[in-house]
Amino acid sequence: MKKDSILGKTKKMDWLFIVTTFVLMGIGVLLVYSATASTPGIPFYQNFWFKQIIYFTAGVVVAVGLTLVKITFWRNLALPLYLLSIVLLVVVLFFAGDVKGAGRWIDLGFFKLQPSEFAKIAYLLMISTWLSRHPVDFLKLKTFLMPFFLFIVPFVLVLRQPDLSTALVFTMVTLTCLFMAGLHLSEVFFIVSPFFSVILSHSQIAYSQLLWGAFICILGFLLYRRRLPIVFTCVIFLVNIFAGYMSTMAWNHLEPHQQKRVETFFNPMADPKGDGYQVLQSMTAIGSGGVTGKGYGNGTQTNLSFLPEEHTDFIFSVLGEQFGLMGCLIVLGLYFLFLWRAMEIAKMYSHPFVTLVTSGVCAIFFFHITVNIAMTIGLMPVTGLPLPFLSYGGSFAMTCMFLVGLLCNMRLQGYKMKGRN
């Protein structure tokens, strides 16, 4: 292929991608500044915005370093990293009972490590390594055995923390990688169809029986079109029917307070004290921004501390209030640009490892972006997923920059990957 030289590398740098990333980080610092600058009497280096700059600077250094790591190392490192992350997840679970609120952190003194963040990356590398050597075939269940095992261990550990949203990030990565490693889109659909059945047939949803009926029809049509072996067709179909009915039955078996908890999760407005308040305030803030926004630094909702956690999980509402629809759409556009340029890497080289890592990274980013924004505008339940590059937070900023470094690494050294193994 190309010459292995500095010149060759720089030529292949995707400047559009790099610039987009820096623009997003810049917007992030500006928003954190406007959301928190009003803390008086604190030296500037203790302010959130300044810390955020430090985190990003450190992140950029890390990303550059990762870019220079030899690409083949990743496959060799995958298993040790994966095992280490499992150990850390177990450790954090073990200590969770002791210290209140420390369930997700390991305090290293100078740095608070969040094992679930680390596990995201380690798992991505592990599943990509495995799938790049062993493609999956929907009709050969054996091929799913190892990926399922790799997936279920961190998934359960994270779920036990409990951190449902991060567990769902693992699911999203798995589905994307399975898709890229050989599954047809409809086959991915078959895998997740029972979960749709559970949700759609839920009696709390309006017209649930109609919705579910329609869903079953679509499923039946797809199964018919795919002409899978009759056993597969029957099992998938029956599992869906079963899941649908079980959903209602299981619901009726729940205690009233458990039902209420589920309802609150799906409809935060129903919760008197907690999430409903946040979402309502966030929606008001975004909506009051209008088309052009109130202007930088003029967000009344933000400045009056009406918004809780405005600089972390709800940073998007700071954006919406101050920069309006235009600002929001521009940021959405930037995110799309980012993901598009990143996904281009997946198409550049023939080796599946590059494709899998790249699409896995994109899946992580995409999931975070969508779930976080949907939460601030009242479309999805309140979960603790931050918004990449915009939300304040050292651990997550580091994760993001790590993933960016991984992408650059793939882009610049992908050609080195040769053959299946």
Binding site: P272, G287, L329, W340, K347, S359, F366, T370, L379, R420
Partner: protein
């Protein structure tokens, strides 16, 4: 895998998948964009107005505390509105300079008498708290007067984030009346909050019942706080209510109908001046309902719901007073039962056939009795007596001999049957103390340290009621159940709990706690004794007589300290042969029971029966 052959196809397939992923991203972002358009363009006006002019808050709706009524429906305890001046962290200025100037402005506000309205300490605390308490207003002036509220409202434009709110506080319209039975409310203390039984149910700043019925039935009085969502304007005033966000209405607390009878209670309060230490208990012996309960000196429960400065002053006054107004003497004051105990001695003797109306003791009363080398005096010279006359004249010499013959075990057993002794009666207010009926074992145990040993000579004192400990409540229960001979009922102050619509939620069911019965022959003689004390010539309790009603009773003058006046006791019951009310009166260190305590009991009974005749009159 056939990758070698279909390399091209595979790459094409992969590129399609990348495209599919991007289409998914595009689709999801479009949904987000549409929602943003909906919020920021279609509903812009609403959202802008809401963010500009209004603030949305979750507010707790305080559940109103239940009232306390007397048995006839007269209000004994109700609630009053109380204004609180508060500081709202969300509305107050953010910059340090503006905060300082607000602080100084508030500090400078004076009322009409030129006094500083808000003290600097509580203001400073409130400002410190405002840094982290954002979701609720912080109080800076408690229980403000209307004048103080109007001063704040006049200056509201200069005082961002400062306004008045109304909350409900306890009011005791009859002042000190029955204060010990009713109790009072105050803010929950830090100590109480640490206890497990309060921890989960109460928050700091909650007002909680202390002592008396207020404490005993606090949970019933409280009800359940509700939640609502409101929009408040820039000045913190509520503009409108938002429905459909999980509001819960407040559930007001239950009303308590007490067994107290306001007229009887008033008469008792009047009869016992605040300058005298003492207690009155009036009880219905047929079911244990307390009709009146007075402990003197009194305290004013209203003090505890005033603003801090006045509350502290009031608290200091009662807490440091050497006469101990906080003590509910009716249930927590323990005294020697004195001559009233002679009823028990007589009863035990009659029950075991050791006394009878025909039995006379060889040593007739010549003013004293020699036991060993000791000479025990009687308070008079009474001559030859049977048991009824001994009770009438309260002759000590007779009971010295009776006591020696009957022995303490029998006497104490009889006393315990009628509610005396070490076991509390279990009245439904906290703080009841135990009595004591000593015998050789318990006497030695109690006096282990001092080295006093039981001796037979002690029976002389004990048989006339010197040496035991009883509460006024026990004394009333004793005389009441002796007259009914139908069991001792658990004394109680709660008659019914009702909800706001008047529906009875809970009723106190009378409960027999001691057997309280004796032989019919014994009963007859005891009744004759009670009768003669009040109604026969020379009876010590003749001042307890009520016109038109046959009253029975027993006086007592308890010695408690050499050279001090005796505790004056009277325990009476009426009508004697169909008892409805039993009254015990004690006046600490006042003098003779017949002279001082009996007239007070008479006034209480008169009030009770005047009410009755009134009711009968109405019926006819």
């Amino acid at each position: 895998m056939s990758n070698a052959l279909n390399g091209n196809e595979e790459i094409q397939n992969r590129n399609m998948k990348v495209l599919a992923f991007l289409v998914l991203v595009w689709g999801a972002f479009c949904v987000l964009g549409i929602r943003l358009f909906y919020l920021q363009y279609v509903h812009y006006e609403d959202n802008f107005a809401r963010s500009e002019n209004n603030r949305i808050r979750r507010m707790e709706i305080e559940a109103e505390r239940g009232f306390i009524f007397d048995r006839n429906g007269e209000v004994l305890v109700r609630n009053r509105p109380s204004y609180q001046i508060v500081l709202d962290a969300q509305r107050m200025p953010k910059s340090r300079e503006a905060k300082d100037s607000l602080f100084n402005l508030l500090l400078g506000i004076k009322d009409s008498s030129g006094r500083r309205m808000i003290d600097s300490a509580s203001l400073d605390t409130a400002f410190q708290r405002s840094v982290w308490i954002k979701n609720r207003p912080i109080r800076i002036l408690e229980d403000a007067s209307p004048e103080e509220v109007s001063i704040i409202e006049e200056h509201s434009h200069e005082l961002p984030g400062v306004y008045a709110i109304t909350e409900s506080r306890r009011a005791y319209p009859h002042g000190t009346l029955a204060a010990h039975a009713l109790g009072y409310t105050s803010e929950i203390s830090e100590k109480q909050l640490e206890k497990p039984e309060y921890k989960d149910k109460y928050n700091s700043g909650d007002r909680i019942g202390q002592k008396g019925l207020e404490q005993q039935y606090d949970e019933e009085f409280r009800g359940k706080d509700g939640v609502r969502t409101v929009e408040v304007n820039a000045f913190g005033r509520i503009v409108s209510e938002i429905k459909g966000m999980g509001e819960e209405p407040a559930l007001p607390g239950l009303h308590l109908v007490s067994t107290l009878d306001l007229r009887v209670q008033e008469a008792a309060e009047k009869a016992l001046p605040d300058s005298v230490k003492g207690a009155i208990v009036a009880i219905d012996p047929r079911n244990g309902e307390i009709l009146a309960m007075v402990s003197s000196p009194r305290l004013d429960p209203n003090v505890f719901s005033l603003k801090r400065r006045e509350r502290n002053r009031g608290w200091a006054k009662v807490a440091l007073d050497s006469t101990r107004p906080l003590l509910n003497r009716a249930i927590a004051g323990v005294y020697p039962p004195a001559s009233v105990f002679k009823l028990v001695t007589s009863g035990a003797g009659l029950e075991h056939g050791l006394l009878s109306v025909n039995k006379y003791y060889p040593h007739l009363c010549d003013g004293g009795y020699r036991f060993g080398n000791r000479y025990q005096k009687c308070w008079g010279v009474h001559g030859n007596l049977n048991v009824v006359n001994a009770l009438r004249l309260s002759c000590d010499v007779y009971f010295y001999q009776a006591g020696l013959e009957i022995d303490m075990e029998r006497i104490n057993e009889f006393g315990r049957r009628f509610g005396l002794g070490e076991e509390v009666l279990g009245i439904d207010i906290p703080g009841e103390r135990r009595g004591w009926l000593p015998d050789s074992a318990s006497f030695n145990k109690r006096n282990k340290r001092s080295g006093w040993r039981w001796a037979r000579g002690l029976i002389l004192n004990l048989s006339i009621g010197q040496g035991q400990l009883v509460t006024p409540l026990q004394q009333a229960v004793l005389v009441g159940s002796l007259a009914t001979n139908a069991g001792v009922y658990k004394p109680h102050l709660m008659k019914e709990l009702r909800d706001r619509s008047g529906k009875v939620i809970k009723k106190f069911e009378p409960e027999i706690i001691r057997s309280g019965t004796m032989k019919e022959s014994t009963h007859k003689v005891i009744l004759a004794g009670l009768d003669s004390v009040v109604n026969h010539p020379g009876g010590t309790g003749k001042r307890g007589a009520v016109k038109g009603i046959r009253v029975g009773g027993k006086t007592g003058s308890g010695e408690w300290k050499k050279g001090e006046k005796t505790h004056a006791w009277f325990a009476g019951v009426a009508p004697l042969y169909a008892p409805e009310i039993a009254v015990s009166v004690i006046l600490e260190a006042a003098g003779g029971g017949g002279a001082l305590a009996a007239p007070i009991a008479r006034q209480v009974m008169e009030a009770y029966f005047s009410r009755d005749s009134l009711a009968i009159g109405n019926n006819q």
